[in-house]
């Protein structure tokens, strides 16, 4: 092995410029792959949980509470829950919805405005926003206290704190203890709420990136079923993101009728999921469309430079391989030296790309590229590695198996 490593290192050194170029090319491929794959994975993180809804026959709707009454304080006329909504429509199979909670916090006897939102169990179970601490709300019916996840806030609310929230229904308001179980990361995407539609409609409409700094009031997320199970339950009207799935037998015309009906019930926007899903898929893969050509061009460069440099260095080394043969190596084992060279180059490229990614991550540039490690990145790395090793071994294999050591020695 000693002679192998020495030969491999010496060979790389002899052709250092070419090998550095190859190393840089491969690490560029690695870095771009990380950016591409993590962008796609981050996008899928929001798409996959509700994929069956997006891909099915149905509607995406946005409900507004203001639209019912024009006055947020007059909280009646709202659609209370998904069963009620279902009863109005042409027999949808399933509905998941976010709900508006009319509530405010009491801090030191002062009333503080909050944004209250509660989720159907299915949303809670399927999607978990990024938290900076604590855990996501549970759908466990046994929970002894009302649980909430809050956004960042200026009230010093932290995981484990118990705070007082006044919740309203049409008759009364009740002050309740709420236990904070988790804190949302600033700007993390939460289901529900809504902003102006920009560009084409994608699954992103289902989410809203909540920023305390921008909104100016803390967001509190609850479990709909937990609040609905309380005595004197607060009013939780269907609000913002709602996904409705129909059986395939329900016709487009019937769905259109439902859309018209809902628009008189506070639904401010609704769209067919087929169109939304098509746009979503384009959006999910846009980074692949954008970056794949660059990767392919780089890979072609890698192919050209590694094939030529491995041919060149093998030709220079053949006599040495013949010497190894004479001193006790099998001829085909000489190929291991070339393999070792490829391994050294790919490891250097790997280390270099890790350093680049770390730099991208911890400098301002990280806003441009969201990088998250996942198994798909490792799969791509493995694929690139295997590809490079095969490419770089082609010429050495051909050259070594086309001559005998005796021919080389007696030349």
């Amino acid at each position: 092995m000693g002679a192998f490593i020495r030969t491999a290192v010496n060979t790389i050194k002899k052709n250092i410029t070419m090998n550095i170029i190859t190393t840089l090319q491969i690490s560029a491929v690695f870095v771009i792959t990380v950016i591409m794959v993590s962008a796609v994975c981050v996008r899928y993180r929001c798409y996959t949980p509700f994929r069956d809804y997006f891909e099915g026959n149905g509607l995406f709707c946005i409900f507004s509470v203001e639209a019912y009454t024009g006055n947020i304080d007059k909280v009646y006329d709202v659609i209370e829950d998904t069963n009620e909504l279902m009863s109005y429509l042409h027999g949808p199979e399933k509905i998941v919805a976010c709900h508006h909670l009319s509530a405010y916090a009491e801090v030191n006897d002062q009333i503080c405005d909050i944004q209250g939102l509660s989720y159907d169990d299915e949303i809670i179970d399927r999607y978990e926003p990024e938290l900076s601490s604590g855990r996501w709300i549970s759908t466990d019916k046994e929970a002894d206290m009302i649980e909430a996840v809050v956004s960042e806030n200026d009230y010093g609310w932290n995981v484990g704190d118990i705070i007082q929230i006044v919740m309203l229904n049409t008759e009364t308001s009740v002050k309740r203890d709420v236990k904070i179980v988790g804190i949302l990361k600033e700007n993390t995407k939460i289901p529900g709420l809504f902003s102006a539609r920009i560009g084409t409609d994608t699954y992103n409409l289902f989410y809203y990136p909540y920023s305390y700094e921008y909104e100016g009031k803390p967001l509190l997320l609850f479990s709909y079923s937990q609040l609905a199970g309380l005595e004197n339950a607060p009013l939780q009207g269907i609000y913002s993101s709602t996904l409705i799935r129909y059986d395939d037998s329900v016709s487009a015309e019937e769905i259109k009728q439902d859309q018209r009906l809902m628009s008189t019930m506070g639904c401010v926007f609704s769209t067919d999921l087929k169109e939304l899903d098509k746009n979503s898929k384009d959006y999910l893969h846009r980074h692949i469309y954008d970056l794949l050509p660059i990767i392919i061009v780089l890979l072609i460069l890698v192919v050209v430079s590694s094939i030529s440099s491995s041919a060149l260095s093998t030709r220079k080394r053949l006599r040495d391989y013949a010497i190894y043969y004479v001193t006790g190596l099998q001829w085909r084992q000489c190929i291991l030296i070339n393999l070792l060279q490829s391994v050294i180059i790919i490891i250097s490229a790997f280390i270099l790309s890790i350093v680049c990614v770390a730099v991208l991550r911890y400098t301002n540039l990280s806003d441009m590229f969201y990088i998250s490690w996942n198994k798909y990145i490792l799969f791509s790395f493995a694929g690139i590695t295997v590809f490079y090793i095969i490419i770089s071994m082609i010429m050495p294999l051909i050259m070594i198996f086309n001559v005998t050591p005796k021919q080389i020695l007696t030349k």
Binding site: G2, A3, I323, Y325, G328, L329, R332, K406
Partner: protein, 220 residues
């Protein structure tokens, strides 16, 4: 130690340019002998030596080294035999240019089946016995011709092989250096090593115990 029985070698067998380089050669070399193989250019000396060194095959006959028949054996076993039983010295020294002298001498130890921790010491001892210990860490392409050949000889003896085979070991050296190298072979011979030297130089051959002469692929 070495037995060659009725060996024939035909280059390009079955083709129009077929050429019989060795024709029914038989001889044997005992342990501790210093033998030279002589003959004119093209006589088949190198062909014979390559067969003895297990880097070429033969078409008929039998070749035994240490009573092992070298015929139809695996690549792996052949490599082991080259590594453990044979030390080869070539006219052009066959050193790895960008290795130091000691790195070159360590090659047979690197490729040996038995893993040892004293490779450096062993290589150093071999270099010392050819008077090259002072140049152990010099790059081999910076050595003089005589120093290169001494290094090659150190490599040939480092695994203590059954036989040392040399193909024109002095062919690329001036006459003074050539006789120094010959002295070295004689010294190794006195230590009990078995040595076969191929040469067309009558003076060199005369210094050996026995001369095998071949002409047109036959022993004369």
């Amino acid at each position: 130690m070495i037995q060659v029985k009725n060996i024939s070698k035909i280059y390009n067998k079955g083709k129009s340019n077929a050429f019989q380089a060795l024709d029914n050669i038989s001889f044997s070399v005992e342990k501790g002998e210093l033998v030279s193989i002589v003959g004119t250019s093209g006589a088949g000396k190198s062909t014979l030596l390559h067969i003895l060194a297990c880097i070429d095959n033969y078409d008929a006959g039998e070749y035994y080294i240490d009573n092992v028949l070298i015929k139809n054996i695996s690549e792996k076993r052949l490599a082991e035999i080259r590594n453990m039983k044979i030390g080869l010295v070539m006219q052009d020294f066959a050193l790895v240019d960008d290795f130091t002298a000691i790195q070159n001498v360590m090659l047979p130890l690197d490729f040996s089946k038995e893993k040892r921790s004293d490779k450096k010491e062993k290589a150093m001892a071999a270099l010392r016995s050819v008077g090259m210990d002072k140049f152990a860490n010099n790059l081999s392409n910076k050595l003089s011709g005589g120093q290169k050949q001494r290094t090659a000889i150190a490599r040939a003896i480092v695994n203590d092989p059954d036989v040392i085979l040399a193909d024109e070991p002095t062919g690329a050296l001036d006459s003074k250096t050539a006789s120094e190298i010959m002295e070295l072979f004689k010294m190794l011979h006195n230590d009990g090593k078995t040595i076969i030297i191929v040469t067309h130089d009558k003076e060199i051959a005369a210094q050996c115990e026995r001369i095998i002469e071949i002409s047109d692929g036959k022993i004369v």
